[in-house]
């Protein structure tokens, strides 16, 4: 049971770290659009045929 004297303060610290991470992420705009990023990963650029699309950094092979 003595281990709890260490573990409980540790768990409190973990909660505060989690809160800190949450605020940082929220400030960084992580929760502004919860739909778009999920849709964007579904689009594979490599299925696009070689059309006169402009060169884009992520498209070059």
């Amino acid at each position: 049971m003595e281990s709890l004297y260490l573990l409980i303060p540790l768990s409190i610290a973990v909660v505060f770290i989690a809160l800190w991470i949450f605020f940082k992420a929220s400030d960084g705009g992580q929760f502004d659009d919860l739909v778009g990023p999920g849709l964007r990963v579904l689009q594979d650029d490599d299925t696009t045929p070689a059309q006169p699309a402009p060169p884009q950094p992520d498209q070059r092979e």
Binding site: M1, F22, Q43, T47
Partner: protein, 809 residues
């Protein structure tokens, strides 16, 4: 004729393709049918820019693009110099609102289309809020190019003015979301530390040191919830105390603070009960209800903003008149007195002015409520805001746009808004009595226990305050309102003000406007009288053939009435301003127009049919030496008007009709709908006086209107509705906007309001019952913390589940 003639669906938008259409686009080597030139143009653009894989990737049809083919020239009025786009010396940025996003492929298509555009540096679409952020270089690109590029692929975009539109609401929602997260995390953790004491408290196996450790841990984790998440309640309570009222936030704050401070004292002294879990759960549940209510209102606000995204008010300026007729499009705000402007049919007149060339019928229905178009000739004055219905006009501006007729109405609206009766919120009045009663009771309990058993006095008094935390009581109203608002939004009713449902339910009088509200606001063919040997159907066919291609509102009515009849086109059609049309069909010359115009070829008019009918606009059809038909047109009642009026009368509300239209027309509509009190030829300030006098006698007035002339009275009424098809000014001053422009939505709202009020009463009843059992138990010292925690959670869950029933309909 080939086999493709059967009905198929448009490959772009999924709407049925009209038989015999010729719009085709080759996509991935297959020819696809399109329903309209708009969809064809958009699909062709998508193929041309090499994005045809959009059609493979999408999982829903695109929005119909019928309007996309016509890119309005007003888009060009947005310029890089506009302050709202400024970023730094070389680049601009803008947040645009985008409509029509359906699936993942849309996101990708829009971003690709924009990054292709020369000068665009960044484009990213936020799907949740439907906002597009674009950054571009000033030298290479104009805002108009960007808006046009988005239109070319079939979406409508327009600048989103963050200051003007609910950005505040969005920020509030973000803060509230964070507070909710913190409260949730804190609640879950505190529960974990409290559980051992609940489980082991009975048999005493929890060693006192360990119990104290758990309490300290709970205390630390409750701090973020108290110091950050509960702020909205503290602020609300503080401001209501300063206003010397007892709002719902006061008992909430009292409960939170009693539970927290009592528990802190118990933790420090090691004696008494702790209520950290109750406090955090309480905060979390209340924040949840607030969060959902805010979300529902934010959705409504953004739908409203979408409705009103008018293009910038513009005017066609003839700068060199009379030497040259070169026309330039300028913002309406830049017009000065003496400018000559051209107003084409269908356009709104930008400022008060006088006609210097041409004559035309003007649609004043949004300004004055008159349903019939008004004829104006050269030399007559026309008010800004009127819509030119038939022929092009040259006007000389008499007053700058911001001092035009509209601004008088704006002043009236301000006066109306300041006189609006204060809405006493029922829930807040209940709360005030509740708090007062509770405080008296807590003091009484404390006094009793001080005399009976002083060591128990504080713990019992705190238990009474905690357990009576009006959680269920304060959840009862907001959860029901949020659910009802959300369900109405899905049916096209935007609730802008939070009090709408409550006030509508209490309303004693319902006042309707006539033109555009009870009626459609445009002429409809009522009656066709054959005057010659041709039957009515044949006459209608001829009239429709003549009217094809005319922008006149009467022409539209004839074409609507002809509907599916195959009428073909007339040859050599000539439109004589203010008179009618002449054209050749099958070698015969026909005239359609007023009696004098047709008589010129058909001979002397025929007896009594040559005279008009009150309230109807007659339209004659004739050929050489013969009269064929008389069409009678008038503003038609909405099909659902009778049902809506009857519903309110059945529910014991007094229905009134106030209109700016002629007295005779107003009375006839009132008779037809069974409305006893009707008043025609009302000016906006007379309408306002009428409603304010009603209010002075204690009536609660609901007002339904659509025009600019209704804006003041909408703002003064206790609760008001504006039609989505009406004037933006009316919408801006109404509490509710009916997006679908269906009058039936008023009925929907009224019945939802009745159901919400019933559910709120049920919720309040349940909460009262809970408090009546829990408070005496606490006062007698029977209640331990875990039992009060369970009771509070259960009562809140019942309230929320009950409110969610409103979402189904």
């Amino acid at each position: 004729m080939n086999a493709v003639l059967q009905l198929t669906d448009c490959f772009h938008c999924g709407l049925p393709v009209p038989p015999g259409s010729r719009w085709r686009v080759t996509i991935d080597k297959l020819e696809r049918a399109m329903c309209c030139p708009g969809c064809e143009a958009v699909a062709q653009t998508i193929v041309d820019i090499g994005q045809s894989s959009y059609y493979r990737e999408r999982d829903d049809y695109a929005a119909n693009a019928a309007d996309a083919a016509m890119v309005p020239p007003e888009l060009r009025l947005y310029s890089n110099d506009d302050a709202q786009f400024a970023r730094d010396a070389s680049s601009c940025e803008a947040t645009l609102s985008v409509e029509g996003i359906r699936c993942a492929a849309c996101v990708w298509l829009i971003e690709r289309q924009l990054t292709r555009l020369p000068g665009v540096q960044a484009a990213s679409l936020n799907v949740a809020t439907e906002r597009l952020y674009v950054r571009w270089s000033k030298a290479q690109c104009e805002p108009g190019d960007i808006l046009q590029a988005v239109r070319q692929v079939g979406y409508t975009a327009y600048p989103y003015d963050a200051v003007r539109h609910g950005e505040q609401l969005q920020k509030a929602s973000k803060t509230l979301g964070r507070q909710l997260f913190v409260a949730g995390l804190s609640m879950m953790q505190v529960m974990m530390y409290v559980a051992p004491s609940y489980l082991a408290a009975e048999d005493g196996t929890l060693d006192p040191n360990m119990a104290s450790l758990m309490r300290w841990a709970s205390l630390l984790l409750t701090l973020p919830a108290i110091c950050y998440s509960a702020l909205p309640f503290f602020q609300g309570a503080w401001s209501s105390l300063r206003a010397r009222t007892l709002g719902m936030d006061v008992p909430v704050t009292l409960g939170i603070l009693a539970a927290f401070s009592g528990s802190v004292v118990a933790t420090l002294t090691g004696r008494g009960e702790v209520y950290f879990d109750s406090a955090t759960m309480f905060i979390f549940l209340l924040l949840c209800s607030r969060y959902f209510e805010l979300q529902a209102r934010r959705k409504a606000a953004s739908a409203l903003e979408r409705l009103q995204h008018a293009l910038p008010a513009s005017a066609t300026l003839l700068a060199g008149f009379p030497d040259s007729r070169a026309a330039t499009l300028v913002p309406a705000g830049s017009l000065v007195v003496g400018d000559v402007i051209l107003v084409k049919p269908g356009e709104a007149i930008a400022a008060d002015s006088v006609i210097i060339e041409g004559n035309s019928a003007l649609d004043l229905s949004l300004l004055t409520g008159e349903s019939a178009a008004q004829r104006r000739n050269t030399g007559e004055r026309v008010p800004g805001g009127a819509i030119n219905a038939s022929a092009a006009l040259l006007l000389r501006v008499l007053k700058p746009a911001r001092e035009s007729t509209l601004s008088d109405l704006l002043k009236l609206i301000e006066r109306a808004g300041s006189g609006k009766p204060q809405i006493a919120q029922w829930a807040d009045r209940v709360a005030a009595w509740f708090v007062l009663g509770l405080l008296v009771f807590a003091v009484a309990v404390f006094v009793f226990w001080s005399w009976h058993d002083p060591s128990q006095a504080w713990p019992v008094a705190i238990a009474v305050l905690v357990v009576s935390c009006p959680c269920a009581l304060s959840l009862a109203t907001p959860t029901a309102l949020a659910a009802a608002t959300d369900s109405l939004l899905r049916r096209g009713v935007l609730i802008v003000q939070p009090h709408v449902l409550e006030t509508l339910h209490r309303a004693t009088h319902v006042v309707f406007d006539k033109t555009g509200t009870l009626t459609l606001g445009r002429p409809v063919l009522k009656q066709t009288d054959g005057l010659g040997k041709l039957d009515a159907q044949g006459c209608l066919q001829l009239a429709a053939a003549l009217e094809t291609g005319s922008a006149h509102p009467l022409a539209q009515a004839i074409l609507d009435a002809a509907g599916a009849i195959d009428h073909g086109h007339a040859q050599q059609v000539q439109e004589v301003q203010g008179q009618g049309l002449e054209g050749v069909i099958g070698g015969v010359r026909y005239r359609l127009g007023n009696a004098a115009f047709v008589a010129a070829i058909a001979g002397a008019p025929l007896g009594d049919t040559a005279v008009g009918v009150a309230g109807m606009t007659p339209l004659y059809l004739g050929a050489q030496d013969q009269w064929l038909a008389r069409f009678l047109l008038s503003d038609a009642l909405r099909p659902e008007a009778r049902e809506v009026v009857a519903y309110f009368q059945r529910h014991g509300k007094q229905v009134l009709l106030l209109s700016g239209d002629q007295e005779a027309l107003t009375q006839s509509v009132a008779r037809e709908l069974g409305i006893d009190t009707a008043c025609g030829e009302c000016l906006p300030d007379e309408k306002l006086d009428f409603v304010q006098q009603l209010q002075a006698t204690g009536a609660v007035v609901a007002m339904v209107g659509d025009g600019i002339n209704d804006a003041a009275v909408l703002s003064a009424a206790d609760v008001s509705f504006a039609m989505g098809s009406g004037a933006a000014l009316a919408q801006a001053h109404a509490d509710t906007v009916l997006l679908s422009s269906q009058l039936r939505s008023v009925l929907d709202t009224a019945s939802t309001a009745a159901r919400s009020m019933r559910i709120i009463r049920e919720n309040l009843g349940w909460a009262t019952l809970y408090n009546l059992t829990a408070i005496p138990a606490a006062a007698l010292g029977f209640l331990n913390p875990w039992l009060s925690g369970v009771g509070m959670a259960a009562s809140s869950a019942v309230v929320i589940a009950n409110a969610l029933r409103l979402r189904k309909s």
